[in-house]
């Protein structure tokens, strides 16, 4: 029999530094932000007591109380009550409090103590309390609550040693909860918290304006705030495309070197063609976008970490109300620009169940980073084939705006159909103080996201590329003409079969086949197009994209008309803005909504809507003479 593993749970209000403390204790890399609701699921890590005993640490989602019905509150309550079977009842709770706002945070700790769970109260962010002139008395607080109290500054590792000492065996006893005799309801707890804070966390009398207040007077100003917000958003989109060009060059060079090395080392044949034309070219066409995807995640991490995300939610609340949503839907939707999966998961912080379902439904219409490769291939075709022009940023902005506006319109319609909430959920949000971003955590998160993207490129995308190469190579024809071989291959036959379905949208069978392959993951489209249009791999990714565009621009229909006109390119872009081509997203929607109908309905609706909009744009464009 192995030694029984003690379980310690971190519980506290949102944005008090639980995840930072979790990372400090476990050496883990839980995502850390300066925005309520960064942790929306249980996170598990391990550490050792000073005596070497291994213990399990669980980071619970932040919540204001254990009585509420929002999903994150339910998760925290069930975990503390031992209803999560894999965890069992906690042996110890670490109640993490913001020392600068004890009056507000103590009632939750008292609620935990009333459950009879042995606990330690962690006064985190003591530096913030000191800056506010608060005089803390942890010893007196410990006496009043009947449990040990440890002061920490988790981001700097201060107090962690003392905390480790406190969690050694024998673990502390549970509190006798002397306040419970005065009435355990939230009002009674709050009054007791106020009383003990008068002696244990004395505040200066005069209210003083903080640096955050001064910054907010500009960033939340009814006019200047919006100018700043729009400027910041434009800067984000511009920086994604401009700052990423250098690392993209490195990826290009590496890919070119690899292709040249393989070509030099192997004799011509199917195997070399598979490695160079199928794998290196196909997977490389996707990996090249890693720097841009990381830049998007970096920017969102910067917003969360600095405290601006909450301000953006505050500003956007009025605007989003027109779509039947609240400012709390802003974080999930903004995160969905990077990837819909964390965006859908972040909807757990939304109080209203109906608003949450609607946000989940429209989140995939925020153009995610997987669509970037498609846009980067197609948009320059509308701009004379030039990449990196300022007009490209404008078109990109328009594409993102179209997806966003469409999402808001659909949200408005859905809100009308689902009706109002049974319990009114007015907007309320804590605005955390501005702080310098925690670079270490942001970069750790980037490494995690980059690793996940590369894993996908090395598995799903690699597999699809090999299958696609095989389908375009076999069965072999007797002819040496590449066009004849393509017609004879499996891909050629599939293309011919689906061409009547996709041609009303302005696409030929090969483009239709590339769209089909991208239903598993949309970033596959570029690699598929490169294979299907037989673009020679020059070893340089920019040249490959340029070559692909040149090849596409020369393609014609059998009657001699150009295949890729500006109108058909726009039609293709429209399809990619609206189509939900991401199976992992559908799986997460199923899990989060708990409804097959919702997940399947979303997939079918978005696919049909994409095809319909593409058809309308193409047909109306033709009718207008484009």
């Amino acid at each position: 029999m192995g030694e029984r593993l003690d379980t310690i749970m971190l519980v506290g209000n949102p944005n008090v530094g639980k995840s930072t403390l979790f990372n400090a204790l476990t050496g883990g890399s839980a995502k850390v932000g300066n925005f309520p609701g960064i942790t929306v699921d249980l996170k598990e890590g391990f550490t050792r007591t000073p005596h070497g005993r291994r213990i399990r640490i669980i980071d619970l989602p932040g919540c204001f109380s254990l009585d509420g019905g929002s999903p994150d509150q339910q998760i925290a309550r069930r975990a503390l009550d031992g209803e999560v079977l894999a965890l069992g009842k906690p042996d110890l709770a670490l109640c993490v409090l913001d020392a600068s706002s004890l009056e507000r945070h103590l009632p939750l700790a008292m609620e935990v103590l009333e459950r009879g769970i042995p606990a330690i109260v962690v006064l985190n962010l003591v530096d913030r309390a000191q800056k506010s002139g608060i005089r803390l008395d942890p010893a007196k607080l410990s006496e009043e609550l009947g449990v040990p109290v440890v002061a920490t500054r988790a981001d700097k590792g201060l107090g962690i040693l003392e905390l480790r000492q406190a969690i050694r065996h024998p673990l502390p006893h549970s509190s006798d909860c002397s306040w419970a005799a005065q009435g355990g309801a939230s009002g009674g707890r709050q009054k007791f918290a106020m009383e003990i804070c008068r002696t244990t966390a004395r505040r200066p009398e005069a209210h003083s304006l903080t640096m955050s207040d001064r910054i907010d007077s500009v960033l939340l100003h009814p006019v200047f705030g919006w100018i700043a917000f729009l400027g910041i958003m434009l800067f984000v989109f511009w920086s994604i495309f401009s700052f990423s060009s250098v690392p993209m060059g490195w990826v290009e060079s590496a890919q070119g070197w690899l292709a040249a090395t393989v070509e030099a080392a192997m004799p011509a044949g199917d195997l070399r063609d598979l490695l160079v034309g199928g794998i290196i070219e196909g997977v490389g066409a996707v990996v090249i976008f890693l720097p841009q995807i990381l830049m998007l995640f970096f920017m969102i991490g910067l917003f969360e970490s600095s405290g601006y995300m909450a301000r953006a939610a505050f500003l956007m609340d009025g605007f989003m109300a027109r779509a039947g949503l609240s400012g709390k839907a802003f974080l999930p939707l903004l995160s969905s620009y990077a990837c819909a999966i964390p965006g859908v998961m972040a909807t757990r912080t939304i109080d209203s169940a109906k608003e949450r379902l609607i946000t989940i439904f429209v989140a995939p219409w925020m153009s995610c980073s997987a669509r970037l490769p498609v846009y980067l291939l197609l948009v320059p075709m509308l701009l004379g084939g030039v990449e990196g022009a300022w007009t490209q940023s404008v078109v990109f902005f328009a594409i993102y705006a179209l997806g966003t506006i469409s999402a808001f319109v659909v949200a408005r319609v859905l809100r009308g159909r689902l009706g109002p909430d049974e319990i009114d959920q007015p907007f309320a949000l804590e605005l955390p103080p501005y702080q310098f971003p925690q670079w270490g955590y942001i970069f750790r998160h980037l490494i995690e996201r980059g690793g996940s993207f590369l894993k996908k490129a090395g598995t799903l995308i690699l597999g699809l590329m090999i299958l696609l190469w095989a389908a375009r190579t076999y069965p072999k024809s007797d002819s040496n003409d590449p066009a004849e071989q393509m017609r004879h291959s499996l891909v050629g036959r599939v293309s011919q079969a689906i061409e009547p379905i996709v041609s009303p949208l302005g696409f030929d069978g090969r483009t239709g086949t590339a769209i089909l392959t991208s239903f598993a993951a949309r970033e596959v489209f570029v690699g598929s197009m490169a294979q299907l249009f037989e673009v020679d791999d020059t070893g340089d990714e920019t040249l490959l994209r340029t070559s692909l565009r040149e090849v596409m621009a020369r393609q014609t229909w059998p009657d001699g008309r150009l295949l890729f006109t500006p109108l058909s390119v726009v039609s293709l872009l429209i399809f990619y803005i609206y189509a939900l081509q991401c199976l992992p997203t559908s799986a997460v929607v199923l899990r989060e909504s708990g409804s097959w109908k919702w997940a399947a309905g979303q997939l079918v609706f978005m696919s049909l809507f994409a095809a319909l909009m593409s058809l309308i744009v193409y047909r109306v464009g033709l009718w207008l003479g484009f």
Binding site: I134, S186, H207, D424
Partner: protein, 82 residues
């Protein structure tokens, strides 16, 4: 509600209160009462209103909170003597 000893002339909702002034919370009254309490609002607490609008901003125990005016209408406050 603990309004027994408070002159009703001095009571106003947080939504009606002037920006830049300090107030004492006298009562929480309405369907959002539980939500307000869970966020740390409580009778006798001192609060300062920092900004007005559809969502107002207030300072409570050192924290800055954004509240919809509908919620702020459920917070009854009285001015704090300077």
């Amino acid at each position: 509600m603990t309004r027994n000893s408070i002159g009703t002339d001095y009571l106003q909702t947080l939504a009606q209160a002037d920006v830049g002034c300090n107030f004492r919370i006298q009562a929480l009254n309405g369907p959002g009462c539980d939500k307000l309490r869970s966020m740390g609002f409580c009778e006798e607490m001192e609060i300062r209103k920092l900004a007005d609008g559809r969502n107002l901003i207030c300072s409570l125990c050192g924290a800055r909170l954004a509240l919809s005016s509908r919620l702020a209408d459920q917070v009854l406050v009285s001015p704090v003597e300077a």
